[in-house]
Amino acid sequence: MFPLPKEDKKVSPYFVFYLIHAMQIGVGILGFEKIIVQSAGYSAWIAILTSGASIIGLIWVSYRILNKGNNDIVAIHAEIMGKWIGGFFSFIFLLYFFAFALVVLRSYVEVLQVWVFPEVSEWIFVLIIIFLSYSYVTGGFRVITGVSYLGIIYGLPLLLVNFYPLQYADYGNLLPILSASPADLFKASKEMTLNFLGFETLFMFYPFIKDGPKSEKWAYFGVLFSIFIYLFTAFVTFVYFNQEQLKSTIWATLTLWKIVDLIIVERFEYIGISVWFFSILPNICIGLWCASRGMNRLFPISQRNALKVFCLLLFIISVLLTDRQQIGVLQNTVSQVGLYTIYFYLPCLLVFQYIIMKVKKR
């Protein structure tokens, strides 16, 4: 009922590193510092570590589910809960993937409007980005893997420019090391987890990995690399800004790029935002791919048509969201749903799958 993809559509296991990492580094990194600092002050870097560790745990859980099911989430749901209930949960998953792409797209366009082109209306950028994503997704999963991989390669040099703010660093900012209460740290960890969301797409693309179980270590490496990048960015931000200033800076990482002073370029943030597009694009593409692929698995509709429908929806909803508040509400809703999905639903699914399999065997 749910056939596995053909061998020539699959990618090597090590690409899971790029796929997972590309999904976790998106718009969040441009301004996550403010949010975690508001809860836990400059001890918030511990929150990055703790939430990262919990994500590694969840990846372990995901691989247990996937290795046993040896298919994507749609097939696993159908196997465990039957056609209707399973299909319902799968459908919610699809909507979540779609909403993920929507959040990333709309947040990036907001950054563009605030930082680069205040006078251009948002629908133009939304349209162009959707068009580009459509062009990638129609290339299939291999092309999407390609854009995640190349996006990371193009984005990495941006890490180097962090050394400019380090020249003005005040390392005393970090002291005392543990100033926040455990409750504050827990709150900050919870908020940090939102930035690590996105690895759930693994549930959709797992069958497209050659020798899936082997890719597990690459998934861990991907998360570890994300943790490193968040930690490093947070470190640079913390030593550059003082705490009160950071609490009122919405896009701290972006503001840091302003410090960069190259011989031939000033105002580096314009370049930064443009290059960052290559880190945003994989998020939207993978989100759309997962959603459209899921539709194709659930309903008798071709993936191409499903993709067209999703692109149209993406455009309409993005244009309808006009102000900061609405975007904020969307971001919060999607991240809350994501949070409960990964921390409650996934472990439940693991247990449930274990029990059902046992029962079925008898």
């Binding site: 990618v11 090597s12 563009l112 680069v116 082109f117 251009v120 133009i124 950028f125 162009i128 980005i129 580009l132 062009s135 990638y136 129609t138 290339g139 291999r142 092309v143 390609g146 854009v147 991989y149 190349l150 011989i263 031939i264 370029v265 000033e266 105002r267 314009y270 370049i271 935002i273 443009s274 290059v275 597009f277 290559f278 694009l281």
Partner: protein, 508 residues
């Protein structure tokens, strides 16, 4: 719907029936000769009244000396009465007695002398006496190299295969020939080394060649465009080269070469994007120099594509990005210019394209003059007249220069073409526009394949082994494996000797 389908089927069937009838209708030899005689260069006569032999040939494609020296004397001595006797007597190999009239016609048209005997209607002796005009093997002009072999392909397929075969004297070098083109009947040869080349690639090419339905194949670039994986792509899918040494080397890597009669360019594939920026001269230089040159070329491509559009983007939208010290010369050069940056850039880019086009169409001697006149006179005049800025002139000229560093001509054209979408998007959305355009081209390149193999190969999918001879060229002792791209059944090129670090002391 069903009604139409059945109608369509019947229509097809009727069509095929008439076609069958046409081919079933046997062409008579008299009819053939009658048709040929309409052309003035067709010669057809009976040797003498006493001789039973009729001789037919096209005098324009036959070497008349062969007829005079080796055929006529044996007809004249009158000892042979039948075609078989004559075939035995004539001291020329590869003569044939053919009964199929279609075959006779083909032979006649490719430079054979046909001898017919009185009384026998459906039989003819066919003697090959082709005389083809061809120029001698000359210097490579498109892919010139300072060191290394100086032979280039010519228009004759046999001479070209000769040039390749003498470099690969092994029986495994296989030549498969296909005739393509309903009017030109062009000979197309597919060359590969048995056992080294993936059979699937060969079959792909042969299948695509056989599927070609086109009336004229005049040059290998026709084939290149017709059998490409994506017809809407501005990027070439196969490398065309005029160097037999490059073909020999590519064949031994496990790739396939297509040689087309009448074309001095061979096609090789499957290929990758990076391969278009490797000149064959890279292998004649030491590996450090070659690697640096390759990187310079890749940088030149990016510079050529992006520089003007970045100028337009920055000067139109992001002037805050220009550092204070750089601002002075820019203002000085742009202050009197009446046009916005985009117009300025398009004028200059078009000028350069005009110069290039004019230079390419004119004979070499005048072409050089045009280059100098255009470059110096128009450039200086445009700046002095206050129409364009000095800075942009420098950028555009450098970009044009950079685009000419691409060793493969077809790719150079593509690079010059894709500058224009970048310019337009840069004008519309600044740096973001450049990013959008770049990512669109990236999506195209990611989807692209050459003979079904990924086009961006050593980069994506990442193949570390193949990087040894793509963006860099590492020394020969490290090139022990054939590229993964070609899926060669024998991946090892040679057994590397253990590279022992000498343990000798300094003065030992």
């Amino acid at each position: 719907m069903g009604f139409f389908k059945s109608k369509l089927k019947r229509f097809n069937r009727d069509n095929s029936k008439t076609k069958n009838e046409n081919s079933e209708h046997e062409l008579q030899i008299d009819e053939l000769l009658h048709r040929c005689k309409e052309s003035n260069d067709f010669v057809s006569y009976r040797y003498s009244n006493s001789s039973p032999f009729y001789i037919h040939y096209y005098q324009t494609i036959v070497d008349i000396n062969i007829l005079h020296q080796y055929i006529l004397p044996y007809i004249k001595d009158n000892s042979s009465k039948t075609l078989f006797d004559l075939q035995q007597a004539i001291p020329i190999d590869n003569t044939e007695i053919i009964t199929n009239v279609h075959e006779i016609r083909d032979k006649l048209l490719t430079g054979c002398i046909v001898i017919e005997v009185k009384g026998s209607l459906q039989e003819a002796l066919v003697i090959s006496a082709v005389s083809l005009e061809k120029r001698p093997v000359s210097l490579p002009e498109v892919e010139y190299s300072v060191v290394g072999p100086k032979e280039a392909f010519v228009e004759s397929i046999d001479a070209n295969i000769n040039l390749v075969r003498k470099r690969l004297p092994i029986p495994d070098l296989i030549v498969e020939e296909v005739k393509v083109g309903s009017l030109t009947k062009t000979r197309v040869a597919v060359l590969y080394i048995e056992g080294v080349t993936d059979k699937e690639n060969v079959n792909t090419i042969l299948q695509r060649l056989n599927e070609i339905e086109f009336d004229q194949i005049v040059d290998s670039s026709f084939i290149n465009q017709i059998i490409s994986d994506n017809h809407n792509s501005p990027f070439p899918h196969l490398i065309d080269t005029e160097r037999p040494d490059r073909v020999a080397s590519v064949l031994s890597e496990g790739k396939i070469t297509i040689i087309v009669d009448g074309s001095p360019h061979a096609l090789t594939g499957p290929t990758t994007l990076v391969e278009f920026f490797s000149a064959f001269e890279d292998y004649f230089l030491s590996w450090h120099i070659a690697s640096i040159f390759r990187l310079v070329r890749l940088f030149a491509v990016f510079f050529s594509v992006l520089s003007t559009s970045l100028y337009v983007a920055v000067l139109t939208y992001h002037y805050e990005m220009i550092p204070e010290k750089l601002l002075n010369p820019l203002i000085a050069s742009r202050s009197g210019i009446p046009f916005p940056p985009i117009l300025e850039a398009i004028i200059l880019e078009l000028t350069i394209e005009l110069l290039r086009e004019a230079g390419a169409r004119l004979p070499t001697k005048i072409g050089q003059t045009i280059g100098i006149v255009g470059g110096i006179v128009i450039g200086t005049a445009a700046v002095q007249a206050g129409l364009t800025s000095n800075v942009l002139l420098i950028i555009v000229a450098l970009a044009a220069l950079a685009s000419f560093t691409t060793p493969v001509y077809q790719m150079g054209n593509t690079i010059r073409l894709i500058r224009f979408p970048f310019l337009i998007t840069a004008q519309l959305w600044g740096l973001l526009g450049v990013t959008f355009c770049f990512s669109y081209i990236l999506s195209h390149l990611l989807k692209m394949t050459s003979l079904g193999r990924p086009y961006l190969a050593p980069m994506y999918p990442l193949r570390l082994n193949d990087l040894r001879d793509s963006m860099f060229r590492l020394p020969f002792f490290m090139q022990t494996k054939r590229p993964l791209q070609v899926r060669s059944p024998v991946r090892t090129r040679f057994q590397p000797k253990k590279h022992e670090k000498s343990k000798r002391d300094i003065e030992d």
